[in-house]
Symmetry: D2
């Protein structure tokens, strides 16, 4: 941490900051510049709230130096991690690129099985589908609950696809673990720390979606919650952020792919359906994500988007999904040739 003093601060002000720094168990290092004095505080106290020093007289600002996350970072593990969704052949990360497709919600048995077979045939390794749906509107369709989970499990038996489904609350952990292969934590729950700890104690991989206004640091700290609770199998998923842009439902910031690969060993998967909100944008954003080095894609697929109960506007058909997977393969092959 660096404490920057205001111009014209007194020696007493600096001494006071040094005292506060020492009280935190940190070593001080005062640097007197031409216009400013700064106090560098040395030592690893990531878990202490140092911002309180900002209140001391003539402190201008506090600049943290250490990233607050550790086990999610490359500081502790330099090689990228591969995480299997469901046994060998279903890895994402460390060179493995995995496709996950399926409807926003499980609507009924025949709908889900039809989509499952279609995405399997197209080359997917995972099946997405919501049984518990976080809906902004309390009167909207909230998902089929356990019945939806049963249908998902049946689809896994029929296709071999790993089931990826959202978990919204700590009391759903046991139930969802019984049926699903990957526990998805949605964007609205990225900061639901009790839920992060709960899935951190489960023995299934977690697909952690970035909060729509989370910083990169907060995203990795959410992963840190899960890992430090005991579950190292965290797959990060970017699904778009809130901005002023009006032609998308969310802005998809693909530069997070190289950023994550620089900061963390965890795989990063892209969701261009949530990430744009419009079906016509999904294929090009899928190709872009793969070209940029994404470890996988999470895509909403529906056989009849016009009648989808949820997220129809951003769902693509199985045909479009299949062509997209072929095109992604062409890009990967070309770049690796």
């Amino acid at each position: 941490m660096i404490v920057v003093m205001t111009p014209g601060c007194s020696q007493a002000d600096v001494d006071h900051v040094v005292k506060l720094v020492n009280e935190m168990g940190l070593k001080d290092h005062v640097i007197v510049g031409t216009d400013r004095t700064v106090v560098a505080a040395i030592g690893d106290k990531r878990n202490v709230d140092k911002s309180a020093i900002e209140n001391a007289p003539n402190v201008d600002k506090i600049v943290p130096i250490l990233a607050p996350y550790k086990v999610a970072s490359k500081e502790v593990k330099r090689e990228p991690s591969a995480i299997a969704l469901l046994g060998p052949g279903t890895e994402v990360g460390a060179g493995h690129v995995g496709m996950i497709g399926g409807p926003c919600s499980v609507e009924d048995r025949s709908q889900l099985l039809e989509v499952a077979h279609a995405v399997k045939e197209a080359g997917a390794i995972g099946l997405r589908g919501g049984a518990f749906k976080p809906r902004t509107n309390p009167y909207s369709f909230q998902g089929l609950g356990e019945e939806g989970l049963e249908i998902l499990a049946e689809a896994r038996e029929a296709t071999g696809l790993a089931v990826v489904t959202e978990i919204m609350s700590i009391d759903q952990v046991d139930l969802v673990c019984k049926y699903a292969d990957v526990l998805q934590v949605g964007t609205r729950n990225m900061h639901n720390f009790n839920l992060l700890v709960a899935v951190g104690k489960a023995n299934k991989p977690v697909m952690l979606k970035r909060g729509w206004s989370a910083t990169l640091e907060e995203f990795l700290l959410a992963a840190e919650y899960i890992i430090s609770a005991g579950n190292p199998n965290v797959i990060l998923c970017e699904r778009g952020i809130r901005t002023h842009e009006e032609y998308v439902r969310n802005t998809l910031p693909l530069a997070i792919i190289p950023a994550i690969k620089r900061e963390s060993h965890l795989p990063i998967v892209i969701d261009p359906s949530q990430g744009t909100g419009h079906a016509y944008m999904v294929p090009s954003m899928c190709l872009a994500a793969i070209a940029a080095g994404a470890d996988g894609l999470l895509v909403e697929v529906h056989q009849d988007p016009e009648h989808a109960l949820t997220d129809g506007a951003q769902s693509i058909t199985p045909e479009v999904f299949a062509k997209m997977v072929v095109d992604c393969k062409k890009i990967s092959d070309a770049l690796n040739a």
Copy 2:
């Protein structure tokens, strides 16, 4: 809902949209303009996901007309609601302005009691203080838990202040209700719908903080979740949003005060501590909020901000709090004179 067709769409495209609209149970109304055709869909189907129509051929966009919330809106209740935190004399809303102060976290008994007495003396009606703390960093101080709640309850007995404290998870509802007077749902949980339903079934007022990137519509829909689950006593709280601004921790959008008063009957309280992140900005933003018509303030107060365990940078001292309350009173009196 209005469905806007692209220029040059065919009659078949329009007919197809009309069919989809009718399938939803809505009456269609086609308007052929000079450059565009639009299909107005008439009927109240707030709970149906109409965006799926966007996928139909030559549909340009969907424009919703009805606000999706209802019981939180002025459509159903035109007069502003007054909500008592703890019996008569502790109302906010409908002309009652209430001050709530206290530390970010309950750190220990003597700290809390000292602050409680100070804010009471300054004119507060409520005491804030966290026993369960949502911390971005898993290694940070997480609050005292039940011990903290006991200290808060003791402070209520000593001062008569209503206790406002955060609830982070559905399994804490019974415990927190046992000690607290007002259940606070934090910004990170505004979209935690399971928690909203859980506090909607509790018999205590709820202080609902706006998510830091929530729209006004989403904010009112979160209130709608709580009210429709059975609890009409929802106090809205603005605590700042995420923007590009670098000189604040959050941007405090005070125009939400007239916006809420136009859209809803619920009281709106402002939190300038979270809403700025810097103690030096808190007093002026308190005065601004009151001048703009806020129904109350939620302010972090600590007797020694430099040593606060959490949020020291944005905590003001009891002396600053007391002067601020006096100044707010002057403004209210002047405007009502």
Copy 3:
């Protein structure tokens, strides 16, 4: 400047950074922490692009310490500046609060004179009105040009109000200076550096509006451009920023008032018309700004907003303006009593 190295960097990496720092004419100061090494660079080289060092091997990031602006800051002038719009009695800043009202555009002679007399009577010191209008749409009304300036000057003669009007281009400087008292640089031109230099050479005060996504630092640097070109009379004006919020045209961040007062000696005026986009929000945001310590207000006033050629949605009537001025006076008087 602080150069933060990545964990595990080599001594050669540090030596290389030290060499780059020295090449810039800065003195180095290496601090070896528990997890990180940082290189502090000492000396005032605000004008050198130091970010290039980010490209050196194993540099994690660069943290600037010095604010890049100087003459706009309190480093060089600690007391707040008062700037007269048009002679004694028309100051803003240093305790003087000035009201400026008028239509978005000058539409015709009778319209402008009527509004001018009304705002004068209400207590304004300045008259706003656009003769050259920056319009997003090339086909929209672009203002009356010189004819509009003549009408503005006539209104000044009739009322004594200072004329505040926008200047859009370097070739308009002489013309606008001939008629106006204060040169307004609009939000779209805050980064138009050639225009900043041009008004910096003019001998009239400048009302500089913040760019709608400018940082505070960029705002003060734009003022620095004007001041360093020779014109010290810069009035800052906040007019709202672009965010994700949907219920306003712009988000009005009033915390910039205490922030400017901490960083700069320049006056800060608030424009709640642009700052919200809706007439019904304007009065409460005016009161909030004054309560927060603003040095003045810039408000769009029109006698018939429903028929205004521009910005009708955010224009208030002379009656609403007059009541607002009275209420602002009540607040100022109460706080200063």
Copy 4:
């Protein structure tokens, strides 16, 4: 345009709106829904400020239906436009993908010529380089001016590359046209309407960068300014937007590529250097842009980024540029195979 009335409005309110609509020369069409009445206004009056109606009693909001741009849209030209930077073989758009590389600033003759030869050899069709630099800080290096333009022209003679350089002010148009092939309007000037009109009268293609908080609609309206002034050769360039993200200098929203291709016939080029701010992210974002269908790339290339006078942090070396161009070619070939 659709005028949405508030619930419970009177017939007189509706009649008043109908009258205002008719006064604008628009035909009214009243639709009485279950909860709301709306007034549809029919006719093409894109250039009239209809928002004034918002001020009428019991109007809730105004929803525009027509896009305000026309000549930049597919309404008037359905096939994509190809625009030559400098004669045959230098097109972008309509299937032509063009690479433009070069330093942020022209620093001196040997620097520029070396980079020019390198990017030419790598396959570029254009050379970028700033002679007039928009610098946030008034004390920073502002470019070589005409000397820089002369060096750029010399580099064109030596390599055949088209020269793309920024124009900052209306008084530079003749000078820059004398030397350059493509006039770049920077992000800070996208809303400088006088400059847009000035380059609209020039006979060189214009590279128009999106303002960093401009909407898509505003971006296309800026193009409309240039085209309607007489210059149809507008190349759009996305260079990143301002958001809350902290790990990039700007957030690069690649979904604008499919959005532009849906709305407009103009080519869209991506600038991943400005669009991220970090050299390490540039190659992957280049590949992503090409995979998503971009018509070209604008990339900052410097032979010694650590010593670049401007934008060193985001400049890549000629070697990295050359490999990137090869990889982009692989992607294009694979997708077109």
